[in-house]
């Protein structure tokens, strides 16, 4: 049986998802399941000009970058025309990254014209209906390479990927970024990080961390099996969410001293009750530096 043909097309992009995937520790065994038709970095048998001017067969289409209907030409052809031409033929469409999925950062230049391929933030675009049956969303700015390899290998193995209403694989996006964070105990006991550059303390209360209400497996599947933003003390900026990027990313917005946005699905009353309880205790281990505490 011949291998599925894989095509990677870019629209308004920074190339970040392509570079992220290129650093996949098992890149070549994953690619061995496919015939690579075109990729923005790797050598391929076709030139981009061939892809644009002819119609090459394609089974799996990966889209990177925000979508604009008019005004972006490659080799004299609107990028949107090329993308839709291949989207019609492909059996699977994967929007890789927040730009291709929801519009992302580059949408902010011209919010009325620029969007994701099938979603405009959370709204369905005019293209949605036609492609919905074969669409998988992989938001993230950029995506973790293992998220993409998971979807690619499920497709290669003929398995169905379970998705949510925004077409995100549930196995990747039912987790919050908070799950698996090494600072979880500080969150539980409501101990904030006193500054940047400390391994102790939670970044949710002062530094703007969005991990408790952001969907993504960043702390389950680490970057290059190594680390994550919150593990190195950087707040989560919610880069997998339709609303990314919001503003004032290093501040926690609060109402009367309480974070304005609650952890996913947690009622405000429940949060306040727990906070009241935990704050009534002072626990030495959490107010001492991690490597200095010794009972």
């Amino acid at each position: 049986m011949s291998k599925p043909k894989l095509l990677w097309l870019q629209s308004i992009s920074c190339n970040g998802n392509a570079h992220s995937f290129l650093n996949h520790p098992e890149l070549f065994s994953i690619l061995a399941h496919f015939e690579l038709i075109y990729h923005p970095i790797l050598e391929t048998n076709y030139l981009l000009e061939d892809i644009i001017k002819k119609r090459v067969e394609c089974d799996v289409l990966i889209l990177e970058g925000s979508f604009v209907q008019e005004g972006f030409l490659k080799a004299g052809v609107e990028v949107s025309t090329t993308i839709e031409g291949y989207a019609k033929r492909a059996k699977h469409i994967i929007t890789a990254g927040t730009c291709a999925t929801f519009g992302g950062i580059f949408k902010q230049k011209e919010p009325d014209k620029i969007s994701g391929f099938a979603f405009n933030i959370e709204e369905k675009t005019v293209r949605y209906e036609e492609y919905a049956s074969k669409l998988i969303s992989l938001p993230g700015c950029p995506i973790n390479p293992r998220w993409l390899s998971f979807v690619l290998l499920m497709i290669a193995n003929g398995k169905k990927v379970e998705i949510d209403r925004l077409h995100r694989p549930v196995e990747l996006y039912r987790y919050t970024v908070h799950m698996g964070c090494t600072r979880n105990e500080y969150f539980e006991w409501k101990v904030d990080a006193k500054n940047f550059g400390l391994k102790e303390g939670c970044l949710f209360y002062e530094q703007g961390c969005q991990a408790p209400f952001t969907r993504g497996s960043c702390n389950k599947i680490l970057w290059y099996d190594t680390s994550s933003k919150t593990r190195v003390g950087t707040p989560c900026f919610g880069c997998t969410e339709p609303s990314f990027p919001q503003s004032s990313l290093f501040f926690t917005k609060t109402n009367m001293g309480i974070p304005a946005k609650m952890p996913l699905g947690v009622p405000r009353r429940a949060y306040l009750t727990l906070t009241g309880v935990t704050k009534s205790f002072k626990i030495k281990r959490f107010s001492t530096r991690l490597l200095e505490y010794d009972e």
């Binding site: 920074c14 950087t234 503003s247």
Partner: protein, 433 residues
């Protein structure tokens, strides 16, 4: 006089560019370089909180995002200082930033060598390619990027450099892991790239010793030499380095004549028919990047090559691969001497400046990257980004042709000229930020 015009789409240069060649009597007389879509990151930043630039600007570029992060944190820190808020980085924070930045440069140069230069050159000279160069590129890139991620959390698009330091708080557990990954990368440089030990490589001082270099670098030098390409691709022979870094101090070099510079004399202007803006320094065009850093730092082997070949394709190619060796050595020293006892961030959380103007300069893989931010009431009122590719790929002025264009002029074929173009390690997305 016979005039022919040829259009060519150049791909896999972090996006694409379209080159319009004008041939007169079989020789390239002029080239127009056109980049596609302007994404407007500078406009997107307007009205946002000053520190949001640390999250937004890395997204200019998938391959040199980390350099954008460092440039943007330096711009804010410079602004804070000018506004009277003291920012004294600990040497630990400074060293960690230099380390992660060096890792990004290494992955960039290695990808360029294996994914662009070697395959394109072999195709051009008709050498049959039997190798999976991509495997080598990915291996080294993954290894060194893991070392980066130990401190920065992820790559691309980390925002771990915060105003006043870095957000990470590493322990020896982290440093030892990073050292192991670095040693693995050095081993790759020794066994695969050069066929000699790093120390031995770094002791090479003159072109008489170049024949000692084996590995893929040796193969590259052999292919260039044997196909008579060493002398092509010469440009203005002017080099500029704006950022102070472990690689070189900030200065300019006209030929080998060094002099100091002032960022105020730098001028940016829009160009016709392209989304890319051009930059000049005191009305003259300069090359930026590894070659410029090697020239300004008076690195003996670069000066020796320059003496024989000037700013030719060979010198330019050599300087970029050579920098990998230099950077690996810098990384080794940085990790060995990292003082973990110091604070990662020295600026208290509530200490912010709300009105300021600052400039941040960094030596990115392709050369000097400059960010300028102007902030009022904590909001960005203007943000300006000048990328290395803008220097190397400008159309030029009335008086002189752009750096890369000058290097291509006189070439007799589109294939050769395209290869010269690629030796500048072109980044399309940075040019049209």
């Amino acid at each position: 006089m016979k005039k022919i015009e040829i259009k060519k789409l150049i791909e896999k240069i972090e996006g694409e560019a379209e080159l319009d060649f004008t041939f007169i009597d079989g020789e390239i007389e002029d080239v127009k370089i056109n980049f596609g879509f302007y994404r407007g990151v500078e406009e997107i930043l307007r009205g946002k909180d000053a520190r949001d630039a640390l999250v937004i600007t890395p997204r200019v570029c998938g391959i040199c995002n980390h350099a954008h992060l460092i440039a943007s944190v330096r711009a804010i820190e410079d602004g804070y200082k000018r506004a009277g808020v003291k920012v004294n980085l600990s040497s630990k924070a400074r060293d960690i930033r230099e380390f992660t930045l060096a890792c990004e440069l290494i992955q960039n140069h290695i990808k360029w060598l294996y994914l662009t230069i070697l395959p394109q050159l072999e195709r051009y000279v008709g050498e049959k390619n039997q190798e999976n160069y991509a495997l080598k590129a990915s291996y080294l890139s993954t290894t060194i990027t893991k070392a980066l991620a130990i401190f920065a959390g992820q790559w691309p698009h980390s925002s771990y450099a915060v105003v006043g330091g870095v957000s990470c708080d590493p322990t020896y557990l982290d440093v030892i892991q990073a050292q192991t990954l670095l040693e693995e990368s050095i081993l790759f440089f020794e066994k695969v790239v050069t066929g000699m030990s790093l120390d031995e490589y770094l002791s090479i001082k003159s072109i008489t010793q170049l024949s000692k270099i084996g590995g893929d670098f040796g193969k590259l030098l052999y292919l260039i030499e044997s196909s008579d390409m060493a002398n092509i691709g010469k440009s203005h022979d002017r080099f500029i380095v704006f950022g102070d870094s472990p690689l070189s101090a900030s200065a300019k070099s006209i030929g080998t004549l060094l002099s100091s510079l002032d960022v105020r004399y730098l001028k940016e202007s829009t160009q016709e028919n392209t989304m890319a803006k051009a930059v000049e320094y005191k009305k003259r065009l300069y090359e930026v990047g590894s070659l410029s850093r090697g020239m300004v730092a008076k690195r003996p082997i670069i000066r020796s090559l320059h003496k024989r070949y000037k700013d030719s394709l060979l010198t330019r190619l050599f300087a970029r691969v050579d920098e990998v060796g230099v950077l690996l050595n810098i990384c080794k020293n940085l990790l060995q001497n990292l003082s973990l006892d110091e604070p990662s961030s020295t600026l208290p959380l509530n200490k912010v400046a709300s009105h300021f103007e600052g400039v941040g300069i960094v030596e990115a893989a392709r050369g000097s990257l400059i960010h300028r931010t102007k902030v009022k009431n904590s909001k960005i009122v203007s943000y300006e980004i000048i990328t290395p590719t803008q220097w190397n790929l400008s159309h030029g002025t009335k008086e002189e042709k752009g750096v890369a264009i000058k290097a291509m002029v006189g070439s007799k074929s589109v294939e050769e000229a395209t290869f010269i173009f690629r030796t500048f390690d072109v980044c399309s997305v940075c040019t049209t930020q």
